[in-house]
């Protein structure tokens, strides 16, 4: 048995992953202690491969040796495991259905896992199959509006920008004048979306897209979320994210 397998709560994660950050925020909201383990996505640990044999991806929450995979699944697990504090889903079935719908929309439309993980777990720089895999992702419904903004150029990037703005307008419509997506209570939809706000700076720098201009309500919402300790401690500095994006662009020869 690998070291640390039965040790309380362990989160296998990667520092810049918005999906991992969702889990960190949920655990912090519940005030639950856990061990954070940084994975090298180019050299995945035996524990990660054993805990998520189907997808081999982070994040994975291992609870006394039992693995839970996929970020929104993990967040719901955390909510159900510690129901006595900081509820992340409302009590009413209709409100819960709305929360699940919008969290699922964020998952499908803002920055789908396959694109991100594809990008970070690609083996060596300049691999020819990268572009084939990337095209596969665009074709089979995996719109990666955010990722496309800094990966693409010219007309393709303009298309991506347009798509990005449409999705954010949709989300602003749902947010309205509420404090959070769930109303007064910070919850599942906020947790699903807020990690991507650390990428706003990168989208602006790479694609000349001003989120202040195009999605002012979301920008204000993001600031309110950052006032919560669970969020401010879990999200990276946007400048560090931008450094990471620049590194990836260099590695893959984009621009």
């Amino acid at each position: 048995m690998a070291e640390g397998e039965n040790k309380g709560l362990v989160l296998l994660d990667f520092w810049v992953s918005p999906f991992g950050q969702r889990c960190r925020i949920a655990l912090a909201e519940k005030g639950v202690e856990y061990e954070y383990r940084e994975e090298n996505l180019r050299d995945k640990s035996p524990l990660l491969l054993k805990s998520n044999p189907v997808h081999k991806k982070i994040p994975v929450l291992i609870d006394h040796g039992m693995p839970v995979c996929e970020s929104l699944n993990i967040v719901q697990y955390i909510d159900e495991k510690w129901p006595d504090r900081a509820p992340l889903l409302p009590a009413n079935p209709y409100a819960r259905a709305q929360a699940r719908f919008w969290a699922d929309l964020v998952e499908k439309k803002v920055h789908p896992p396959s694109a991100f993980h594809l990008f970070v777990s690609c083996a060596a720089p300049g691999e020819a199959h990268f572009l084939r895999k990337f095209t596969y992702c665009i074709r089979f419904q995996m719109y990666e509006s955010g990722t496309k903004l800094w990966k693409l150029k010219g007309e393709a990037q303009e298309e991506a920008k347009k798509e990005f703005i449409e999705i954010f307008k949709l989300l602003e419509g749902e947010l309205g004048d509420k404090k959070y997506f769930g109303g007064e209570t910070f919850g599942l939809v906020d947790i699903a979306l807020v990690p991507f706000t650390a990428w706003f700076y990168s989208y602006e720098a790479c694609a000349n897209l001003s989120t202040e201009k195009e999605a002012p309500k979301l920008v204000s919402w993001a600031k309110r979320c950052r006032e919560r300790e669970s969020v401010s401690k879990s999200l990276p500095d946007p400048l560090k994210v931008y450094e990471f994006v620049c590194f990836l662009k260099k590695v893959y020869g984009i621009e």
Binding site: V54, D63, M66, V68, C69, E70, N73, I74, Q76, Y77, E80, K81, P93, Y94, R96, A97, R100, F101, D104, L105, L131, F134, T135, I138, R139, F140, Q141, K151, L152, K153, G154, E155, A156, L170
Partner: protein, 244 residues
């Protein structure tokens, strides 16, 4: 909690597996509901009103409000009418069920769809992908999280049975229409046995359309998809070239 039965209405399409999921769940809960057939190509004003984001079936209308996305609807049904639960109570077991529901919709279903919409080498690769996905489910049924169970939900049909089962009939349909081997009982004995058992359940028989209708429907759609895929693959190649 009891709700007046006549307050439930489902907008769906007869050949849509996501609609079948909701119909089956409502039947398993013993709920009466009104059904409105929607045309896939021309959504009604009601559907556009109740599902403005995706404009698709199914949409469940209850108490003057709408719920969309089949897995969201199933959980709503389970949490509103709490008799005969379709989700387990334990948080870890619930997480396992949600994981495999997501796998079904994110990996298996698209691969099955690709078998249907492609040809030649592309189709062969898609068939291999379906087999890879079925192997994972077979392993889970045989030795993993669902070992020894009659259904994924235990002794009774649960949420994952509904999600996986309503759609798995396409495997047999596509086998015949496409002349490919997708769900060979020798390669996937446990999955095959589960599917046969699922399809024998009374509520399932009342929900899934007759195989002849599905075959005819699939043949028609296949023609349409082939012509679409020929025109879209050239535009994908153009997009790839301009983004490279």
């Amino acid at each position: 909690m009891d709700q007046p039965p006549s307050s439930v209405k489902l907008l769906g399409s007869w050949a849509d597996s996501h609609t079948h999921r909701v119909q089956l769940a409502l039947k398993l809960k013993g709920l009466e509901f009104e059904y409105q057939e929607e045309d896939f190509i021309n959504p009604s004003p009601a559907l556009l009103l109740h599902n403005p984001v995706y404009k698709k079936v199914p949409a469940l209308l209850h108490g003057g409000r709408s719920i969309v996305e089949s897995v969201v609807i199933l959980q709503y049904i389970d949490e509103t009418w709490t008799d005969n639960p379709i989700m387990p109570a334990d948080p870890f077991e619930r997480a396992v069920i949600r994981f495999w529901c997501h796998f079904t919709d994110d990996k298996l279903a698209p691969a099955v769809g690709l078998v249907f919409s492609s040809s030649g080498e592309g189709q062969k690769a898609a068939v291999d992908q379906v087999h890879e996905n079925l192997k994972l489910l077979e392993r889970e049924l045989k030795d993993g999280a669902f070992k020894g169970r009659r259904f994924f939900g235990g002794d009774k049909i649960g949420l994952l049975d509904i999600v996986l089962g309503c759609g798995s009939y396409w495997l047999a349909v596509f086998e015949e229409v496409m002349e490919v081997k997708l769900i060979d009982p020798e390669s996937f004995p446990v999955f095959h046995a589960w599917l046969r058992d699922f399809e024998e359940q009374q509520e399932v028989k009342e929900t899934i359309p007759a195989i002849d209708r599905l075959l005819e429907y699939a043949r028609g759609i296949r023609q349409m998809m082939l012509s679409l895929s020929n025109s879209s693959s050239s535009s994908i190649n153009n997009a790839a070239a301009s983004s490279g």
